[in-house]
Symmetry: C2
Subunit: 309 residues, 2 copies
């Protein structure tokens, strides 16, 4: 069996990095020969996590085909979120918790997706089904990924399974997950030290919506004013990316992780589907979205529907 | 929770019918409210199976949206193989063992595919993971589905998992699977009593290949001459379907289930990708394919590659 690479999406968040590590570990225990890699450097939050559990960062790749024929994807399936030469390799495994779009294979494959808060929760279930023990350090990483994706179990994407798994992983890792989780999330919201371009690149994904390329970036903060005092500069940075990367529409979702409210900043066109998706008119290029914290569950689906309507 | 329908592909084979029954049973045990239905009448083989285990056939539907908002798919994902109004309902679950193509959702979902010989083998694993007991009758049906899809564990799609599951299900159902399996397969090869149109419709699937619509029918037999003595009439029937249904290319894969050889009959255009896929020239519109028994594993992938080359 030839070696396979395991990786999460571009602009990796904690879940993308951790799930690659965890699923690769599991596959190797089951007899495969895999290496976890990443499609980008770890963000501030992920650095905090890796440092806390004394784990190395992943090797960063920009292409897969020069190294391997086959790959395994975690935490994504849409080709535009994957490695640049994804069309040149065969996907043998996917473990995910997102919608499926633009994903095609010529051969049957292993595909495991569940509508859970975090793909590390799915990977946890795979460990249990295969009766493979989770080492304490890896449990700490997986716990961090679930806290990151669910904003400490407060996002509407959180399921009872995520809650139960966090509690079990906290036991294995011997961590007080609430204290640790808040410190970890705060470590990821260090905004002032970053440029506008860094802020809109750090956690951004592209979506094809009825012919338009829509970029949705999310910025977590403990104070929305810290984001919007830089509104003009953020708009300029997004406008610049639309031009250089060919995006039609750039959405910046600023989320207050303490009270679970968001404010959306909209740059580009068309803006009508955005207004329609949330039933509100833009004011100063912004939409207030109280109670919205999940790009996947509360932003992409209504937006997709509005684009297709 | 509102009721959901569970169904397999059009032109249902034994696996499509059985997996709908089995997955619906499991989901209901886990608290869902589902009804298994079918997108067509059972074929000869499936009738033999249902009769043998004294199980009723499934209700046949042509549309889902008038009844339900949500559906669960088994044994397929490609929209052109599904219910005619699949675009008007939400797919919440897929259990499959095929390639993924043309399948898109706006929301995260439960998707479970594994490259195993039969989707009933995947469903068996779900029963085990959820610790739900398989009733003896249902075990008999699932056993039949695996025997059907793997041609009594002889198809190259057969995995060690399929073999182990057949043996366990045979115990639960108290069946000698080799004797029963051969009788069941023979019951499905009753060719003489059927019209050419019936023969090419009974187990046929459509595939989009680089802009062409390719229809691939499979006819199992215990003597290839029983099929090809009717070659002219089969060609006429396929030509007629190409015209009325808008297929570009109609492939009839006649398979001898006793010695695992096939002969392919080709009607329509383009024929170049077919010749390229198998590295042979058509003679009398036919290609001899010794050792080929699996449409999914030995016909569709090389054909897709040849169309995309």
């Amino acid at each position: 069996m030839s070696k396979e690479l395991v990786f999460g999406h571009q602009n990796p968040d904690t879940d993308a990095i951790v799930a690659a590590k965890a699923f690769s570990y599991l596959e190797n225990k089951l007899g495969a020969d895999t290496e976890p890699v990443a499609l980008g450097e770890p963000n501030e939050e992920t650095k905090y996590v890796l440092n806390h559990f004394d784990e190395p960062a992943l090797r960063v790749i920009t292409k897969a085909a020069p190294e391997v024929d086959k790959v395994m994807l975690v935490d994504h399936n849409e080709p535009q979120q994957s490695v640049s030469d994804i069309a040149d390799v065969t996907v043998t495994h996917v473990v995910d918790h997102h919608r499926i779009a633009g994903f095609e294979t010529t051969q049957p494959l292993f595909y495991r997706a569940e509508p859970l808060g975090c793909v590390s929760t799915v990977v946890y279930k795979l460990f249990k089904e295969n009766k493979v023990e989770i080492p304490a350090k890896l449990a700490g990483l997986m716990l961090s990924a679930i806290i990151s994706d669910t904003l400490l179990l407060k996002s509407p994407t959180t399921t009872p399974t995520d809650v139960a798994v966090v509690k079990d992983l906290a036991k294995i890792a011997d961590v007080d997950y609430e204290t640790y989780g808040l410190a970890m999330l705060k470590a990821g919201t260090n905004i002032d030290s970053k440029s506008e371009k860094e802020l809109i690149d750090a956690d951004a994904k592209s979506f094809e919506m009825n012919g338009s390329t829509v970029r949705v970036a999310q910025i977590n903060t403990v104070d929305l004013d810290d984001v919007f005092k830089r509104q003009a500069a953020l708009e300029a940075a997004a406008k610049d990316e639309n031009k250089t990367e060919g995006y039609d529409l750039f959405l910046i979702l600023a989320t207050n992780i303490l009270n679970s409210d968001s404010e959306l900043l909209v740059v580009g066109a068309p803006t009508e589907p955005v207004e329609k998706a949330f039933g509100k008119k833009l004011a100063n290029n912004r939409l207030s979205l109280p109670g919205v914290v999940s790009r996947k569950k509360q932003v992409v689906p209504p937006l997709t529907d509005a684009f297709n309507a």
